[in-house]
């Protein structure tokens, strides 16, 4: 009886707990710390995650994603679908209905004109909008009436949830940004730093690359939220320092991107002041195989191009053997701890889109050796495999990064055991990712046999991501080395399937095709060797309630619901 009473009491307490906090601005201040400081509060001019997340406290899109990757309405009454008529049957328009009585934090009403303006702002060719791809295929955006936004695409758009969806594509206030169109965009310092939004907070102070101070938005649509009266985002330092400020000293409530070594994760958790949470998005650390010949002896312009297939890696047996020799679990544990898990997919999430391919997880050194034997690569006198008098030599490049160097060392050990002569190379990330067509060390040029980096799909739908592996996207002198198909993988069947995907509307069908595409580049062809599915490790204090880690939108997507645990 007593137990029953106690349980009931606890249940009641749980039920009423949120209600107890359900009053705006009663919980004081919530303090964030980011290892990289916020530079700008306008996501259209910066694709830095730090800036996008900070802006998400203030600026909101029409719709966002929840923790499971489901699309949810934010500023609209419901998510437009074909069923409810929001999406036209020919897939060329999507119509959003704004919530009634929606107000900007300055008290003025939010209208469809703001959305029209936002689209014009980002699509202006002189503006340098970082989120232009969100408006890809958008023909026009118009205000049907004050609260109805109609987006028309130039052709059928199976996934129309791009413009105005997610933290990368929020709504700007027309009144504030009108002077900032086009070439004037970067010079609009004040609006860029202190945008007026609809979110739970508004900016009260902004110091570039340091601190953003925010106060609750009195005009926020839910009168009971946010629970916090103010917020502050302090940036700078490093992941270790940010994690420490939450987990050990308790100075801050939430630290984003606290990617620290697994042993530090454990010791900080032991301090008992907070916990780490991981957002598993689609980021995959992988080794990409070069299907073309990077031989320096080849003339410039032909090196690493489709003209010359790779003399060694063109053989799938070699690629498979290299994959089999790797123990992905060890890599994940050593490099990321709780922040990573081994994977065999380039599209590891959301679950509905991810292939159930796990064949690569278990290391199979013997199998790998056997494959190489079959391929004709037999151990020479020095233990290095040879074929036709040629040694099995692999140049393995990556960026300068302690975890990547650990990975390189581990993988080199395994491949050496396999009888492969591995040469390691580490390149400054700003060069590797810099995309300078004049540099031989970019990941696009790929003047190596294999290279390792991480890449991810933008959002839940991997269509764009998977379409990168089409023949036409191979970097080459013809496109100033600007393609995304680093491997120069080229399979007409793959290209055909991508076309099918872009024409498919049914989600289940799309997921099926996506899985097939994923399998084609990974387990079927071993062109890409996925290693670790990387999450974003963040830390929050035990006194902060309501945190729901989200990999598909801003991590602060539900900051309005956060409260102080008392």
């Amino acid at each position: 009886m007593k137990l029953k009473t106690a349980l009931l009491g606890a249940a009641c307490a749980l039920t009423f707990a949120p209600a107890a906090f359900a009053e705006r601005g009663t919980d004081g201040e919530v303090k964030f710390t980011f290892p990289q400081a916020v530079s700008i509060m306008n996501p259209f001019l910066s694709s830095g995650t730090k800036d996008v997340y900070a802006a998400s406290l203030v600026l909101e899109p029409l719709a966002g994603f929840d923790a499971d990757g489901n699309i949810i309405p934010k500023l609209v009454t419901e998510i437009p679908t074909i069923e409810n008529g929001g999406i036209s049957a020919d897939l060329t328009t999507i119509t959003w209905k704004l919530l009634p009585d929606l107000k900007w934090s300055d008290g003025s009403p939010v209208t469809a004109d703001d959305a029209v303006f936002t689209a014009a702002y980002c699509m202006d060719p002189a503006g340098g909008c970082a989120q232009l791809s969100k408006f890809d295929g958008v023909a026009k955006v118009e205000a049907v009436d004050a609260s109805t936004v109609k987006v028309t695409f130039s052709g059928p758009k199976p996934n129309p949830y791009t413009a105005f969806v997610g933290a990368l594509s929020p709504l700007l206030q027309k009144a504030q940004f009108t002077p900032c169109l086009g070439a004037a965009a970067p010079t609009c310092t004040d609006p860029n730093n202190m945008p007026i939004g609809t979110g739970p907070f508004k900016v009260t102070g902004f110091t570039v690359n340091d601190t953003v101070t925010l106060a609750m938005n009195d005009q926020y649509r839910d009168p009971a939220k946010p629970a916090f009266a103010s917020a502050v985002i302090k940036g700078g330092g490093d992941a270790e320092g940010s994690a420490r400020a939450v987990m050990e000293t308790g100075e801050f409530d939430y630290a984003w991107n606290t990617q620290i070594p697994p042993d530090s994760q454990a010791s900080m958790t032991a301090a008992g002041k907070g916990e780490f949470v991981v957002a598993f998005g689609t980021l995959v650390e992988r080794i990409e195989m070069n299907m073309t010949d990077p031989d320096p002896a080849l003339p410039e312009g032909e090196r690493s191009t489709a003209k010359h297939p790779h003399p060694v890696l063109s053989d799938i047996k070699v690629r498979t053997a290299l994959s089999k020799a790797i123990d992905r679990q060890i890599l994940s544990d050593v490099g990321y701890g709780a922040g990573g898990k081994p994977t065999c997919n380039v599209v590891p999430a959301p679950d509905a889109w991810a292939s159930d391919n796990t064949g690569c997880i278990a290391q199979d050194m013997e199998g790998a050796k056997k494959l190489l034997d079959e391929a004709g690569w037999v151990p020479g006198a020095d233990g290095i495999r040879e074929k036709d008098g040629k040694k099995l030599h692999i140049l393995y490049q990556s960026t300068v990064n302690p975890i990547r160097q650990d990975f390189q060392a581990l993988v080199k050990d395994w491949w050496t055991e396999l009888g492969v002569d591995v040469e390691l190379k580490a390149i400054d990330p700003s060069v590797f990712f810099g995309g300078d067509a004049g540099s031989p060390d970019t990941f696009q040029k790929f003047y190596a046999d294999v290279e390792m980096y991480a890449n991810n799909s933008d959002g839940t739908d991997p269509e764009t991501y998977l379409s990168q592996y089409q023949c036409v996207n191979a970097p080459s002198p013809d496109n100033q080395w600007q393609g995304e198909n680093m491997n120069r993988y080229c399979d007409p069947a793959y290209d055909a399937k991508v076309k099918v995907l872009s024409g498919t509307v049914d989600v289940a069908e799309r997921q099926k095709i996506a899985k097939e595409l994923n399998d084609m580049v990974t387990k079927d062809s071993m062109t890409v060797i996925p290693l670790v599915h990387r999450g974003t490790l963040s830390a929050h204090s035990n006194t902060l309630g309501g945190v729901q880690i989200n990999a598909w939108d801003s991590e602060m997507w539900n900051v309005a619901d956060w409260f102080r645990v008392k």
């Binding site: 700008i40 970082a130 791809s133 700003s430 060390d441």
Partner: protein, 335 residues
Amino acid sequence: MLTFTLRRLLLAIPTLLVISLVIFLLVDLAPGSPMSEIPLTVPPEVRKKMIEALGADQPVMVRYVLWLRQFFWVEPATLIDGWFGTNWAGGEQRILSWQSRAPVFTVIGQRIPQTLTVIGTAYLVGILIALPIGIYSAYRQYSLFDQLGTLFAMIGFSVPTFFSGTLIIIIFAVTLGWFPTKYDTNLSVTDWPSFVKQLQQMAMPVMTLGLANAAVISRYMRSSMLDNMGMDYVRTARAKGLTERVVVLKHVLRNSMIPVVTVIALGIPSIFGGAIITENLFGVNGIGAALIGAIHASDLPMVQTLAFIFAVLIVTFNLIADVLYGLLDPRIRYD
């Protein structure tokens, strides 16, 4: 002295122009692109557009001339406009950071106070610690105190600030819980409690840097004192029957201070330069943190402007050190 100063100032102009060009070319030649921070999900065409919007695709000489004009005409004009409400600048484009799109000088203006308070205090504290240590170490050469002073200096010299800083954080913030690990820039000192808070948040960065500064200066002080201790005029002073206090503080110290003051003056530009690692470690949003942030983001206008300002400061303080030398040492005349 005046002629000397003027001549040096005139000479500084071509020097600085050359320095600015060299900095510009070096920064430009450095590998990396302002776009390397952008996630791979942003397509190449968008990247290209972003680069164009920044003006980063212009030839280097065009950008250099534009920067010169902005630095030497637009920025001062904007400053004067701000003071007197005039309109010299005429709304011309100021130097904009690629990273934050904010005018570089606004950012610098925001950051100078933090750098000066924290790094400046650390420098001052360093000097205040170093001078007595240096003086007494030299006075009692090879004593236990001298050995400890040497040990202190060795630690200060050889332990990098990222290590000593982390150690200090672990001791004073994590274990003892005395000081905050992150510097609160928005704290304004208005009353006693906020002043105490300011002191608390300054304590750890000041300790970290003060140790390093004190190590350097104490060694200079010691060796300069030792140089002078053995001089005949010190013996003369003793033979005069002066007290040890007067001998050391008046005769030895005053002469020993000449090179030390120069070293201190030459170190002042480094205050403005901030302390990259320390500022970053403790979240002090000073110039050093701005510089490293800009370097990481390949924010060339910011890096160029900061580097050039450092060059100006270094040239200026070299001149100041020379003039000080002339003022302090009657044997030196610049005629």
